[in-house]
């Protein structure tokens, strides 16, 4: 029997957006911790740390996210864990986000004038205090816009988790589409929901970058 595409189906798909949001937040939170580490390693004085961070970024930016998801998914079995789309998707997306945020934030840290590093060193601040109180707060201001922009990328990227069986917005749409044979209505609804989620963030990111550029160019 073919199911109708009625209010219940619309509600089912719309509610599935919470898994998209949750997965995005997990990936973003984990990716932020990893990304900060990668960015700090990338600007480190120690060349081995720089190389490791660079290799990490190169590998994760130079391979498809879909393959990273597959490797996390099948890799879990190899490491002896039960296969679970939640963990696999989280791990892959966290590593993916760490690589991209690491590279974005490296640029932001390097955009802080060297005079600031030097002055902090001269007044006797050690590495941790220098970073924590002088460099990172300034880099943070530069980073807000691009980071918001990346969050949009990340939300869109979570759609790939549907391929390894994670039921978020895209997969909820697929399930309903297969049951109702109304692909046009269902996929359009899914696209609209992503748009509602992403568009305000994109606008915000553009505004933040615009404001920042105006504040710093004179």
């Amino acid at each position: 029997m073919i199911r109708e595409f009625g209010p219940n189906e619309v509600i089912y798909i719309t509610l599935a957006i919470r898994y998209t949001i949750l997965l995005s937040l997990i990936a973003f939170a984990g990716g932020a911790v990893g990304g900060l580490m990668v960015a700090l390693m990338r600007v480190s004085q120690n060349k081995y740390r720089r190389w490791i961070a660079m290799a990490f970024i190169r590998v994760f930016q130079g391979t498809p996210l879909l393959m990273q998801l597959f490797l996390a998914y099948f890799g879990m079995a190899i490491l002896g864990f039960p296969i679970d789309p939640w963990t696999a998707a989280s791990v892959a997306l966290i590593l993916h986000a760490a690589a991209f945020l690491g590279e974005i934030w490296r640029g932001c840290i390097e955009a802080v004038p060297t005079g600031q590093h030097e002055a902090a060193r001269v007044v006797g601040l050690g590495y941790v205090n220098r970073m924590r109180h002088v460099v990172l707060p300034q880099a943070f201001r530069i980073a807000v816009g691009p980071t918001t922009g990346f969050l949009v990328q990340l939300i869109k990227a979570t759609s790939l988790a549907s391929i390894i069986g994670f039921t978020e917005l895209t997969r909820a749409g697929q399930i309903i589409s297969n049951a109702t044979f109304q692909p046009f209505a269902v996929i359009s609804l899914v696209a609209v929901l992503y748009f509602i989620l992403c568009w305000p963030l994109s606008k915000l990111a553009a505004n933040l970058e615009h404001k920042f550029n105006q504040a710093t160019t004179r």
Binding site: T63, L160, I187, S188, A191, Y194
Partner: protein, 222 residues
């Protein structure tokens, strides 16, 4: 302890090479058509009439704020409802072109915006017509300015194209899926495929750097 078994993967390595070639073909064709679309979009957005500008903006915002996977599903599963039936490879190519076009338009537009007003006025003064101005005065320096952004967008497109295997289009990831279901050596297959994508993205960066040197090495300040 897990025993890695790469032998069956390398035994069928030629099918993976065929898949890699299909990925290169598909992304290159998508890039060329997408680049033409981007230039048209950028020109339309910069100097077109208001309805055209609005239409281009809507196109860009829709594509940039929805996932590529959903766009792919739309072209493959939803278009038949409108009477347009595409094969998997056609739908994949269309999705890649439409996706690249949106990002490319913004990139090329930024390049066009970087060309000084004075250059365009000077071109008009020396009697160049619209197309000559576009070709020699606007697009050449614009493309030079945005060339790095375009090439990284292309590499992104090539990596994202791995997703088209889910609508049974034929590419490297699809070749991997086939091999995986024959050999059951899932992890080994995907690690090899991932390495192949990595090599392809490095190779493309190298080729693009070379092309950039050859095509854009004319002196800037004379």
């Amino acid at each position: 302890m897990y025993d890695f078994n790469f032998a069956p993967v390398f035994a069928s390595f030629d099918t993976l090479l065929v898949g890699a070639w299909l990925t290169i073909q598909m992304s290159t064709v998508a890039m060329v058509i997408g680049l033409v679309l981007s230039i048209l979009g950028a020109v339309g957005k910069t100097s077109g009439p208001k309805p055209v500008r609005i239409a281009i903006n809507v196109y860009i915002e829709i594509i940039r704020n929805t996932p590529f996977l959903v766009q792919l599903y739309f072209f493959f599963f939803a278009l038949p409802a409108l009477g347009v039936r595409l094969g998997p490879n056609q739908a994949a190519l269309l999705a890649l072109v439409v996706n690249f076009g949106a990002y490319g338009t913004e990139i090329v537009r930024a390049g066009v915006a970087s060309v000084g007003r004075g250059h365009i006025e000077a071109a008009k003064t020396v009697g160049l017509n619209f197309f000559q101005t576009l070709r020699y005065v606007i697009l050449k320096p614009a493309m030079r300015a945005v060339y790095p952004a375009l090439t990284s967008q292309f590499i992104y497109l090539m990596l994202a194209s791995s997703v088209v295997s889910v609508i049974s289009a034929t590419d490297l990831a699809a070749a991997g899926n086939d091999l995986q279901s024959q050999t059951f050596a899932s992890f080994e297959v995907y690690i090899v495929i991932t390495a192949m994508y990595f090599v392809m993205s490095l190779a493309f960066s190298g080729v693009f750097a070379l092309i950039g040197k050859l095509a854009f090495s004319y002196p800037l300040n004379r």
